[in-house]
């Protein structure tokens, strides 16, 4: 078998294994409590009867291993269980919220990725001079403020003081694309700001690393034009690290989205998760946690696959 295919197959198998293990961990995360989960959920005001009802709803009379496999079997068939608080099917509620979250994350990524790569290139081109220093200075400042505070700073100035954008991202069915984009402008801006810093810094480091290699110097010395050096020698080798940087930061976006949705009261998955953690609705939390973990693991897997495929040394085995 071609070694490339073997590597890709092995990496995908590892990804699936990791996802399975992550599902065990998420399930176990809600079982670590010493004592009774039901009384922890209901608090001190619980009566014997409500406790017994909840224990039955959660299936606590059966061993954890059995419940895990039932849960996993359901998840594999698209059944995420029912919410404890409103008795609704979690999968149907999640579908709408997930598309909202993906909509938000998609636009944040569409803006942040090209911008970060461009600014990373600018920082490399003017390395050590003021544009480079300005970019690293802003990066340090932006990663020192948590997302939710960036959100309120943006809302305070852009929405309240200058009344440019709406401060709350309400979504409803009758909106066309323009209205929707206007509604999510602020959350997108905040998400872009939170991932931009890391992405620029890592892009800068990745490209610098390639540009300082011996083969780039050789290409310059043998008289290739700067364009040819970049197109023929730098670019093929820079693809893998840059794609890696992008994927890692998109995975980071998954976490950022949770907090930003709460700030702008956006009806997405993150807000759904946070609301139900406070309500101690364990099935919802497990379902959301699993989906967030799957997206995170999936993006990391994609990053590895692209760098395997983009590596010229693996494409042409000896």
């Amino acid at each position: 078998m071609h070694p490339l295919i073997r590597l890709v197959a092995r990496r995908i198998a590892l990804g699936i294994l990791l996802l399975l293990a992550a599902s065990v961990l998420i399930f176990a995360g809600t079982e670590v409590l010493p004592g009774d989960v039901a009384s922890a959920i209901l608090g001190q005001g619980a009566t014997e009867k409500t406790l017994a009802n909840l224990r039955e709803a959660l299936g606590l009379d059966r061993p954890a291993v059995v419940r895990y496999f039932e849960w996993l079997g359901g998840v594999l068939q698209g059944d995420l269980g029912t919410s404890l608080t409103n008795r609704r099917d979690i999968a149907t509620t999640l579908a709408g919220r997930m598309s909202n979250t993906l909509f938000l994350a998609f636009w944040a990524a569409v803006i942040a990725v090209p911008l970060a790569i461009l600014l990373g290139l600018v920082a490399v081109r003017y390395q050590g001079r003021w544009p480079d220093k300005l970019i690293s200075g802003t990066t340090l400042a932006s990663i020192s403020v948590p997302e939710f505070l960036l959100g309120y700073i943006a809302a305070f100035f852009l929405a309240v003081q200058f009344k440019l954008l709406p401060s709350v991202a309400t979504m409803h069915g009758g909106m066309d694309l323009g209205d929707k984009l206007m509604a999510i402008a602020l959350p997108v801006l905040v998400l872009v700001l939170t991932v931009l810093g890391h992405m620029m810094r890592m892009t800068r480091a990745a490209i610098l690393n390639v540009m300082q290699s011996a083969y780039i110097e050789t290409a310059e010395l043998k008289g290739l034009s700067p364009f040819a050096v970049i197109a023929r020698h730098a670019l093929p080798n820079a693809i893998a690290p840059v794609v890696n940087v992008v994927m890692i930061n998109l995975a980071y976006l998954v976490v950022g989205v949770v907090v930003v949705e709460v700030v702008f009261v956006y009806p997405g998955m993150g807000q759904y998760l946070v609301d139900h953690v406070a309500k101690r609705d364990v099935p919802v939390v497990q379902a959301c946690g699993l989906i967030f973990a799957a997206v995170y693991i999936g993006l990391n897997l994609l990053a590895d696959l692209i760098s395997i495929i983009a590596n010229p040394r693996l494409r042409h085995p000896k």
Partner: protein, 271 residues
């Protein structure tokens, strides 16, 4: 060697925050949960930062909030460092299946974003300070584990470790007397960064309502309590941003300096 200006400023501000946290009871002008004025009063001579959503003095809330935030972040960092570095060193020194088991487990833990995993665990745990510190510290220990294992792997191949092994020292001696002193400087610099991460983490949890519970004050909670004022043009919720950002940048500057200083001692880059 002279201390660079940036590191001096960083050290000064960091010390200031820690002193304010330690002596909060002495310097706070009012009581922690004492209602002393109207809702969201503007800045005045009596209330240097104005008042909050139910008329408490905002400066007082910020000082007590800093105390809670810094205390939680410090204890969680210490927990994460002790667990992470002892396990990391053990993995590096023991090698074999111990290393494999620990490393694969850490890979697994890191495959789930820490905030998401913290939310999953907090959905069944009682939200109290020890629980939050434990969850934050143990989740973060994975990152310390990776760093300390990598650093210790470089050190275990040194001749002096080999010499200690040959003269029959136990694993504990090798970890604490041979590896720890030589691995300390990168770990201390990392400690600064982890501390900032903890400050951001606890602030985020409190903001989501899953961290420090009212009436106790902490920086994330102050944002949550005052966020409704944003729409009315009251900037009270933005005050913690200034505190968190300056603390984070100051600690960063100090950490950078420690890393550079120790790198130059060993003949590395920087200086």
């Amino acid at each position: 060697m002279r201390m660079p200006l940036s590191a001096a400023i960083g050290l000064f501000l960091t010390a200031l925050y820690f002193l304010a946290a330690i002596f909060a009871d002495l310097i706070a002008p009012y009581g922690m949960a004492e209602v002393v004025g109207d809702v969201w009063e503007p800045i005045s001579a009596e209330h240097w930062l104005g008042t909050d959503s139910i008329g408490r003095d905002l400066l007082t809330r910020m000082i007590y909030g800093g105390q809670t935030t810094i205390l939680i972040a410090t204890v969680a960092t210490l927990l994460s460092f002790t667990t992470g570095s002892i396990l990391g060193f053990t993995a590096a020194v023991a090698g074999g299946w111990v290393d494999q088991a620990l490393s694969r487990f850490v890979d697994l833990m890191m495959s789930i974003p820490s905030l998401i995993f913290a939310l999953v665990v907090l959905s069944v745990m009682p939200v109290s300070l020890p629980v939050i510190i434990l969850v934050m510290g143990l989740l973060d220990a994975t990152r310390v584990f990776r760093l300390s294992r990598a650093v210790a792997l470089d050190i275990t191949v040194m001749d002096y470790v080999e010499a200690a092994r040959l003269r029959g020292e136990g694993r504990g001696w090798i970890i604490f007397r041979e590896i720890l002193p030589n691995a300390l400087s990168p770990l201390v610099a990392e400690m600064g960064l982890r501390f900032i991460f903890m400050v951001l983490f606890i602030s985020t949890l409190s903001f989501l309502g899953l961290g420090v519970q009212p009436p106790m004050a902490d920086w994330g909670g102050i944002v949550k309590e005052n966020k409704d004022g944003i729409v009315w043009g009251v900037p009270a919720a933005l005050v913690p941003a200034v505190a968190i950002a300056t603390l984070a940048i100051s600690v960063n500057l100090v950490a950078d300096w420690i890393l550079n200083r120790t790198a130059s001692l060993k003949g590395g880059r920087g200086g």
